[in-house]
Symmetry: D2
Subunit: 142 residues, 4 copies
């Protein structure tokens, strides 16, 4: 997959910095490549559900953002992207040192971009697959 302009990674970082929810989660953006973006987050005590694990909305949030930014890497300089729909299957409790979402573009269409993301819980040397997302992004001109 080919980006359409050189500054795609900087554009993703700028946009991520304006997602205040990501800062609230303590999330950081990691690797950014054409059609793929990684986001990591600690599991803050302010982001848990009733059993003390990360709330599903955290896995959803970093997975959705990683998937959306993977789409953004392939768009024109002044395009933005919105989530049309997203489905998440939760595979295991989200506990450990941190969560890591790896988003990727499956099909970069003109009108819609189909995306996916996997979320992993890292604890020491171990990684557990905790969630799997599949969804659709739409380019918007702002």
């Amino acid at each position: 997959m080919k980006p359409r302009f050189d500054g795609y990674a900087a554009k993703v970082r700028d946009s991520f910095a304006r997602q205040s929810l990501m800062a609230t989660f303590g999330a950081e953006i990691g690797d950014i490549g054409p059609g793929r973006v990684t986001i990591t987050t600690p599991i803050l005590e302010t982001a848990t559900q009733q059993h003390g694990f990360a709330h599903a909305a955290v896995s959803f949030g970093i997975g959705d953002s990683a998937a959306g930014y993977s789409a953004l890497t392939l768009l024109n300089e002044h395009d933005e992207v919105l989530t049309v729909e997203m489905k998440i299957n939760l595979l295991a409790p989200a506990k450990g040192d941190r969560l890591r979402a790896e988003g990727r573009v499956i099909k970069p269409g003109k009108r819609l971009i189909v995306v996916a993301a996997d979320v992993w819980a890292d604890a020491g040397q171990d990684s557990t697959h905790v969630a799997m997302l599949q969804g659709t992004m739409i380019p918007v001109t702002v």
Copy 2:
């Protein structure tokens, strides 16, 4: 739909109070009935995406929790509930005075409970349908 014990609403309120992410969002639990639960939240500056609207993870989070608690109202006293999977379609930007998620049970099965939720953005007298969720909950004994 019939609850299996009298204290189902108190049980939902107790569990909700332990979901720290809901407090982080500023969310509150509203009406609780057999098979249906409402959650409302302001749109805090700490919960936005890059355009200043509520992040999709907020609509997802309150929708998922409202749906999950609607399932919990129908379970036995010592059962808890986990999200198996959830799909969200985003219908409009999540902006306004507050978001309101109305969760409901579609099919209360023995092994799985199929649920749905709608999320509305209230602004003055107006309500806009901003998201629609459909998913599956599983009872767990803790």
Copy 3:
């Protein structure tokens, strides 16, 4: 919801008649209104899964078509519609005299139309809710 031209129901019937799979299922189109379409089908022996119930693909197929045609009722005369994505939750075995899918438009957007469908199994006087679909349609000009 308002149709954009008078002949929307005839257009839906014409298109349905060209969906050979619907004829293979024995399916027939029923009520057609602005933003809503019903499709019914017998459960043929040629359309079952290994337990003798209708295959999930039958509930999916009539649900998807009913949802897609509900979107088509709101489009311009020369537009067609394609399914972007569709999610189905299966609620009960698809057995009985016939299946009935009721599709409806949830959000008629300019670029995308969010749709839903419920599938019922009718047996004598009884109806069982067997499937629930939520998805996205896109208008295409042919």
Copy 4:
């Protein structure tokens, strides 16, 4: 992933042979391994939508069956499997010589099995990714 008894492939073939809808589609079962199953089908004139491509229900049907049978390869000898829910994203028109669904197990849980499938349209030497499915299976004892 480890099968629990030697005859898992024969069991899948037996079950597939009883899915009359698969015969109606002209579908055949291909490779069967632990946690993965392939199903191929021609695109019959009796299985098209209004533009002459395979109906979405065909891609859904072979994808759902391939995913379900991939789960079945990991179950006990007398267990069967049912689809709880399935989401499909359609990526390209389903046209060509044949469709090929590759199902696989993502997470083989005790109570639920999370599965995925990709559907490809083969035409001569070319393969086009036409659909992507993500869903949940449940073991049932019959």
